[in-house]
């Protein structure tokens, strides 16, 4: 198999066996990146020098006979909302087009400690607001399975790069489904960890109480390896949990006998594409064959998750994004006559439509006289949603559902209809509202496009999720499928 399409754990074996050098891996992935980038367009910035530097450090360590970490010398990419010291971090926004952070996000430090080399920064919906990456202020990223279609969003660049062989793995961020929905659209594995498992320090905030960084990988084993690298308490993030994470490799056991899986009725309702439903039900059927005990369950407040999310997330965003004002860094419009006109022009021109829409929604929801009716109520709904999951997890170890009600859609298809766009996150948003972990794994195809299976777990139940995902993956071929990108290499 081509090096650029291999998993991190497979590459690691070759490196340790000295069958291939990290430099060769780096060059193969860089070549692939260059070759397909003109059609896929995953990257906002590429950093080949950092990839090569990490590769040569890995090769030197191997030459010295040292043990290398599982991710040493592995080319990886980051969604462009994670701060990288000296490498511009744009959030795919005009506002931060030339912003070069003076510090590294905690996840960046942790991956650097593993010896993994940054290959570039990935395109996204502006400030992670969107479900198709069409809200990038720079360009559209294509779905490698069908260049007419969106990769999903907001971590569209991350999933496209991993699916197209441009990076071995990537980190995305998930506020309402932004890792899982695109992972499902592009046939890769995407995990949204429990809120607080991975430090948010250095992640440019969209909605602080919902944002979480997670791995985008080609299989479940890589997902466990990357999670090992990034999970764990960070004193720089007060909301990071004091939880001591286990070695997630130990849950990679293909055994789910007796595992109780609940099927939330509400996730199979209106708007679910019948063929996607068929594929997902087959996947669940297979898990039953593998020994899981499957039954239906109800999460009665599901229908309120989306409206409540569109209060909480924009409210927090309206405050988080207030700092982009042209004063200290980032974009500032020319020709302002005073400070207020500088603010207004800078923000009018610096932000795109969707960002401005959400800032206005959030500002309104927090306004005096509306707070109780909107924000406070949304917080109460959030408590109810969490209660639904708490109830369900008394009877079940995991919940399974489609990640997205449909497969990837065409460019422009939903761009003018924000509500239709918001609906594509119906199955993923409740997970963020409750702060629980969930994974999307490839579970088949519909109309030739990947379908994702979502497995949701208890807080800090990543081990159970990974074990079930691994068992399913080992019994199916989907994770070995690659898109047939026809490009000259």
């Amino acid at each position: 198999m081509d090096l650029h399409y291999m998993t991190a754990h497979a590459i690691h074996k070759l490196l340790v066996a000295r069958e291939v050098s990290a430099a060769e891996v780096a060059e193969a992935v860089l070549a692939r990146l260059e070759a397909v980038e003109p059609v896929v367009r995953s990257f906002v910035t590429t950093t080949p020098e950092l990839t090569r530097a990490a590769a040569s450090r890995a090769d030197e360590a191997i030459a010295r006979g040292e043990r290398i970490t599982p991710l040493a010398g592995i080319p990886m990419a980051l969604k462009d909302n994670m701060c990288t010291k000296g490498v511009r971090t744009t959030c795919s926004s005009r506002m931060l087009e030339n912003f070069i952070p003076p510090y590294d996000a905690t996840v960046v430090v942790r991956l650097a400690e593993q010896g993994s080399g940054l290959i570039g920064k990935l395109n996204m919906d502006e400030f992670a607001m969107g479900s198709s990456t069409e809200n990038s202020r720079f360009f559209n990223t294509k779905n490698p399975w069908d260049l007419e279609r969106v990769p999903g969003g907001s971590s569209g660049g991350a999933v496209a790069a991993v699916a197209a062989g441009q990076a071995v793995f990537a980190l995305g961020s998930d506020t309402g489904g932004s890792i899982r929905q695109p992972a499902s659209f592009c046939g890769v594995v995407g995990l949204k960890p429990t809120y607080g498992l991975v430090s948010r320090y250095g992640l440019v905030a969209f909605a602080s109480s919902l944002d979480q960084i997670g791995p985008v990988t080609r299989d479940v084993t890589d997902c466990a390896l990357v999670l090992n690298a990034i999970a764990g308490h960070d004193p720089m993030d007060s909301t990071s949990a004091g939880y001591q994470p286990p070695d997630y490799r130990e849950c990679l056991v293909p055994d789910i006998k007796g595992l109780r899986i609940g099927i939330p009725r509400e996730y199979f309702g209106q708007g679910l594409d019948p063929d996607v439903e068929r594929v997902v039900r087959e996947a669940i059927g297979l898990m039953e064959e593998l020994g899981a005990v499957v039954d239906e369950v109800s999460l009665p407040h599901t229908e309120y998750a989306l409206p409540a999310y569109y209060i909480v997330a924009p409210a927090e965003a309206s405050s988080n994004l207030a700092r982009y004002d042209g004063v200290g860094y980032g974009f500032r419009v020319e020709g302002a006559t005073d400070v207020v006109s500088m603010y207004m022009k800078t923000r009018s021109e610096g932000f795109g439509q969707e960002v401005k829409r959400r800032i206005m929604l959030g500002t309104y929801a927090l306004s005096s006289g509306y707070y109780d009716a909107y924000y406070l109520k949304a917080l109460k709904v959030r408590t109810l949603i969490r209660g639904d999951f708490d109830q369900a997890f008394k009877k079940f170890d995991l919940l399974a559902s489609p990640t997205s009600p449909t497969v990837s859609f065409k460019f422009g298809e939903r761009a003018d209809n924000p509500l239709a766009m918001y609906l594509s996150d119906l199955c993923t948003i409740p997970v963020n509202m409750a702060g629980i972990p969930a994974i999307s794994i490839p579970c088949g195809f519909s109309q030739g496009l990947p379908v994702g299976l979502q497995l949701m777990g208890k807080p800090f139940g990543e081990e159970t999720i990974l074990r079930a995902a691994y068992a399913y993956e080992q019994a199916t071929p989907w994770h070995r499928r690659r898109p047939s990108l026809e490009v000259q290499q």
């Binding site: 007060s238 309206s318 700092r323 860094y329 005073d338 207020v340 707070y371 924000y375």
Partner: protein
């Protein structure tokens, strides 16, 4: 109609923790602009606040010193508004669950004690400093921002509208300052902005229990400014009402130079701060044991100290009040008394000479070159008769301006009092021999003649003669006992 004022104060004080409230930067004053900064206090994309536990400790300390209830559960909120000195365009503050609430502070005005309610005490972060190229932000081609003070911890202390006069307001602020200094949580330097005060003022007919429309007064940078601004504002409101007008609810700024308050913004222009819980910080759960530990560590507060000075040293209440109005002054007193146990004399010198010279030089006791050991030594020299009281005052001034110890000054200037009986007797005899007429007068019953003779002895000895001894020797020789 007779009116009375209703005044409430909002006081902001910078806490003197070593580092800022949400990052590790120093809180030290001075420093080149934008050198005490990091990505966190600059509010760069992606950063998160981490609460400095010392700030909570200080807030609890002040809460306890102001007799507040300390919340078992408290949280931070975001106060959203745009201003270029606020890099995130929101301030992390506390809205509905402050760390402390429901306290009181007794003040004394014209010998009467009054209890002023403390509504709440909460923690927040300070903003930066703007330097405008023109006279205001809207009239400047450009402005510069210094973020050194951004993120310095602040306490906001809000009083109930219990104050009725500018004097009471001033007494309240002075007492609050004393408490902040006693507990060692703030430097309280109004000129450096580490103690700031806004006032809510309204007036109403005497006897009414309804509040009038209030105005908020800002920009009062000294105790004097507070008192003057309130006096002005009360008079202004009275004139508006008496001429049939209505008070407009607004924010007004004190103009120190012109001695007036001017309108800044109306109620309609007031900010909607869109408070909501700060999602980047977890709520604070305050352990009772911690509160009790802090309570036990509280130093002696001004009222208790004043009582002690009255009780243990018999100081008059007024003197005890003056000495304990500042922790540094009270410490100076206590340290001096420890070395020279005649508390009344020490008090007289502190209240008299020391405060006179400090006030004349507009100095703080911490800047005084005279230390407790120096004053105690001076008093000892006086007790021993080495120097006279008159000489002591001269030496005290010298100590105050040079910092030299009294022994050195005495030696350098040859100020030692002549207490040697033989030496003085010779001078006395000379004076008596040289003034037979005066001696006659004295013997004829003119008591005042004695004073002249003493003066002559002092003149001969250049003022160094021990006055008591001179008197004794003269009387012996003149045979009047």
């Amino acid at each position: 109609m007779e009116y009375e004022a209703v005044i409430g104060l909002e006081v902001h004080t910078e806490l003197k923790t070593n580092s800022k409230v949400f990052c590790g930067c120093t809180t030290a004053f001075g420093g080149e602009p934008n050198t005490h900064v990091c990505p966190i206090c600059l509010g760069l994309p992606g950063v998160l606040p981490v609460l400095n536990k010392r700030v909570v400790e200080f807030a609890i300390k002040i809460g306890l010193a102001l007799n507040c209830k300390i919340a078992a559960f408290s949280k931070f909120d975001r106060k959203n508004y745009y201003y270029p000195d606020l890099p995130k365009n929101y301030q992390i503050s506390q809205y509905d669950l402050p760390i402390a609430a429901g306290g009181y502070l007794p003040i004394e005005v014209n010998g009467e004690t009054k209890s002023i309610g403390i509504t709440r005490v909460h923690m927040e972060e300070d903003a930066g400093k703007l330097l405008h190229s023109g006279e205001s932000i809207s009239r400047s081609p450009y402005s510069l921002v210094d973020y050194n003070r951004t993120g310095v911890p602040l306490l906001e202390i809000v009083s109930e509208p219990d104050l009725r006069t500018p004097e009471e307001a001033r007494a309240y602020l002075e007492k609050l300052k004393a408490i902040l200094q006693y507990t060692d949580v703030s430097d309280c330097k109004m000129e450096e902005g580490s103690l700031r005060c806004d006032a809510n003022v309204s007036i109403r007919p005497v006897g009414s229990d309804k509040f009038g429309t209030k105005t908020e007064i800002k920009n009062m940078n000294s105790f004097r400014a507070l008192q003057r601004a309130l006096e002005y504002e009360i008079q202004r409101q009275r004139e508006v009402l008496e001429s049939g007008g209505r008070i407009v609810q607004e924010t007004r700024s004190w103009d120190e130079a012109k001695g007036i308050t001017v309108s800044m913004r109306s109620k309609e222009q007031a900010h909607d701060y869109r408070y909501f819980p700060e999602p980047d910080l977890v709520p604070l759960v305050i352990e009772r044991e911690w509160v009790e530990e802090i309570r036990r560590s509280l130093p002696e507060l001004p009222d208790a100290r004043k009582e002690r000075l009255i009780r243990d040293y018999g100081l008059p209440p007024y003197d005890a009040g003056v000495i304990t109005s500042s922790r540094d002054l009270a410490d100076f007193f206590d340290r001096t008394v420890a070395l020279h146990p005649d508390a009344k004399t020490v008090s007289n010198w502190v209240m008299g000479e020391l405060l006179r010279l400090l006030n004349a030089g507009n100095l703080d006791i911490t800047r005084s070159l005279i230390k407790p050991a120096g004053l105690a030594e001076l008093l000892r020299l006086m007790d021993q008769g080495t120097i006279s009281g008159k000489m002591a005052k001269v030496i005290f001034e010298e100590m105050f301006s040079t910092g030299k110890d009294p022994g050195t000054i005495v030696r350098e200037q040859g100020l030692v009092q002549i207490s040697d009986e033989g030496e003085l007797a010779a001078v006395v005899d000379r004076v008596l021999a040289g003034n037979p007429g005066v001696v006659e007068d004295f013997r004829a019953g003119k008591e005042r003649a004695l004073g002249f003779l003493v003066g002559q002895v002092m003149k001969e000895t250049k003022g160094k003669a021990n006055p008591g001894l001179v008197n004794k020797l003269l009387k012996e020789r003149l045979g009047s006992n």
